[in-house]
Amino acid sequence: MTDNERHDFDVVVIGAGGAGLRAAIEAREMGARTALVCKSLLGKAHTVMAEGGIAAALANVWPEDNWQVHFRDTMRGGKMLNNWRMAQIHALEAPDRVLELEEWGALFDRTADGRILQRDFGGHRYARLAHVGDRTGLEMIRALQHRAVSIGIDVFMECKIVRLLQDDAGEVNGAVGFWRETGGFVTFGAKAVVLATGGLGKAWKFTSNSWECTGDGMALALWAGADLIDMEAIQFHPTGMIWPTSARGLLVTEGVRGDGGVLKNQDDERFMFNYISPFFAAETADTIEEADQWYKNKTDFRRPPELLPRDEVARAINSEVKAGRGSPHGGVFLDIASRRTPEEIRRLLPSMYHQFKQLADVDITTTAMEVGPTCHYAMGGVRVEADTEVTTVEGLYAAGEVAGGMHGSNRLGGNSLSDLVVFGRRAGMSAARRALDGLDAKPISQAQVADITRHAVSYFDNEGTEDAYSVHRDLQETMQALVGIIRVESELLEAKEKLVELQERASRCAVEGNLSFNPGWHLTLDLESMLAVSNCTTLSALERRESRGGHTREDFPGFRPEFENLNMITRFVDGSYVLSQEPKPQMPEELAKLFAEEAH
């Protein structure tokens, strides 16, 4: 059990979705010996499920677009809680990253004059999303994957990292994981480690997230002493599939609405007109006539309310269903059939057509879809320094969904794919700089390695009837019911207590079978991560006594000025989760002016 395989690298990247691949490519191209470690096969990461597009102010469709407008949209979408510097870097660099994907073989849809076509999405003032039908994530991950393979990055597939390694000063100097196939342990020595493990949706019952999204990177960082930021900010995507039950939560791309689809209740009413908040009233159409004009003329007309940011739309759907105006299976209707021809729908939304036809036997070219909110994205995550993506622990970097700050309290659609490549590249660059800057490899403590492996296999020694599948199911029920889209103090306190009980049950989980490709065992370790992030989310949700973006408190509706400038910071100290409120960085005057000008 302790006879570990050992590999030493300059940079070890954990996670091989868009951010991890981009980080590894950058580190490798800078000359660092780089390893890419991923829980699944290469090219299967959750990034493949991204549908609508990648946001970048290329100004191919609307010449008026530029990085300032994109920056402003991102900050307003995040209800100003965003780290302003991350939002600025993101808006500035996204166009270059999109063009780079093209240079690596990606084939985006084209404009009539042969440039990259851009589509409308919620919260973006101009059509801004470069896309490939509704499978943009797949295109992006393949382009990055082929690039990574062609420059000879060492890939460790189906290898799960259990804990990070740290030297006496607390600096990260490696990681310990195991091969899922054999259960054999692997020790990685590294001068720098990049976390790019994605999100945490699997802690909720209805989620668009794939198997891997169990909050691993956030938990690894937390256990290493790093700060997490704004973990209460969870995005419930307004349009997930509702039926059949087995498909519940699967994503229905926002591109449906971007391409003209509208939301209706059982009375055939476009109810979104009843949910335009004052924050967005100035820029949102208040009649159907104006809304429908906007698709063709963005200068003289305001955007339809179906394209409000995701948090607004998700809450509206939630209210309609609660008021008894929902669809037969407890959602609302998303109608593209009456808005576009069948040919256009099949061309613009081929995956959605396929998904509904195959899983629900519904033809979306003739029939409205039934949709409802689904747990989709963590805006919060590991706290990083905006320019370098270094965490609060030396030697540890984070990029992509695992990192927090960029999206504030709500992420705009399309800003995720661009986040992955903008900050993936920067994290890879910073990690490689650290490694190549004459840093000596720090010796690894064999005692630490032994402790980690001993803990990981300890579940095989447990006796009794508790099993990881039951604990996971109960965790999902708890988070869905008590830390869901609408929150209230009494339920959050109840969740906190339940998490203690679930933690205790999780520690008693007994594993049957052996070390070889054993999903029951893998789940016990994924559960450790999910419980850690669930605790942080619950704690942050309790303390943010206001409603902002992806965090809605029934007992504290609306923004509260005292929270506007505060980040919720969670840490794991001596076996307990602790929270502190810290002021967010203030943006410089020249950027603040962008918002003052827009106010009238």
Binding site: E102, R110, V132, G137, W211, W243, P244, S246, Y469, P519
Partner: protein, 309 residues
Amino acid sequence: MSIDTEPASTPQPSPPSEAPARELVMRLWRGDASGGRFMEYRLAQQEGEVVLDVVHRIQATQAHDLAVRWNCKAGKCGSCSAEINGKPALMCMTRMSTLPVDEPVTISPMRAFPIMRDLVTDVSYNFEVAKLIPAFKPRGRDADGLYRMAQVDIDRGQEFHKCIECFLCQDVCHVIRDHEENKLHYAGPRFFVRLAELEMHPLDTLDRRDYIGRDMGLGYCNITKCCTEVCPEEIHITDNAIIPLKERLVDAHYDPIAWLGRKITRRPAPLPAAKAREFTGAAHAQAGVPAPPRTAGGDQGAPEPGPGA
């Protein structure tokens, strides 16, 4: 009866959804490289399920250590490939209502790849072949720093880019399905799609034709279209990728005008195979891997009941 090479019968119409809960009998292959057998699991039928849901229910309630590879459960990642009643398919996109549930439903791992455990196979062969593909090499940008391409010129490439790398086409390709030794010199349908996408990419400048013929083994394919039939993304692998590649190879060798044109203007010389290997630094697929189970049922003896049966 051998059902492993025969496609399953055409999908049955869905039973009425109000039908009372019936018992499902699932026969899952369980074992590892050293051998295994089909185990039978019984559980109540539920509305609207796909095969992967049922496998997950077995895992959660009767066989916690049942190995199955899956990620997105939405037909987008291509992880949960298996043979369902002998027919290669994605478990997440096969609705139970399309299968004849009066009979046991048999699920076995992909046969063309070595077994890791239970329904999980070792698909590393594909990742080794991927390393050998000479990479995309674009021309320079336009003066304003952009690339311009007409939509009509990338439609075909976009069809190929739909590939989710489920490797069902590789599984069903008879050149390697029953001939492990051919993996040494045959890339398989997935990689012919990849090569076709590179060859037809409007920006690419590399000529891979000699390499495709000599080292990727395109000639072994005799266009039986089995790959096209199983592709969950409905890519016309044979008609749109393989046949045009074969035609290009013929052009490269026998058409003096094309040869001259290439010599003078169009593309640099083809990449020699040895050079490609050196460039990628990869060894070709390893030989001597254990064979997967040969049948999907029948001659393995009577299935043993699972613990929950």
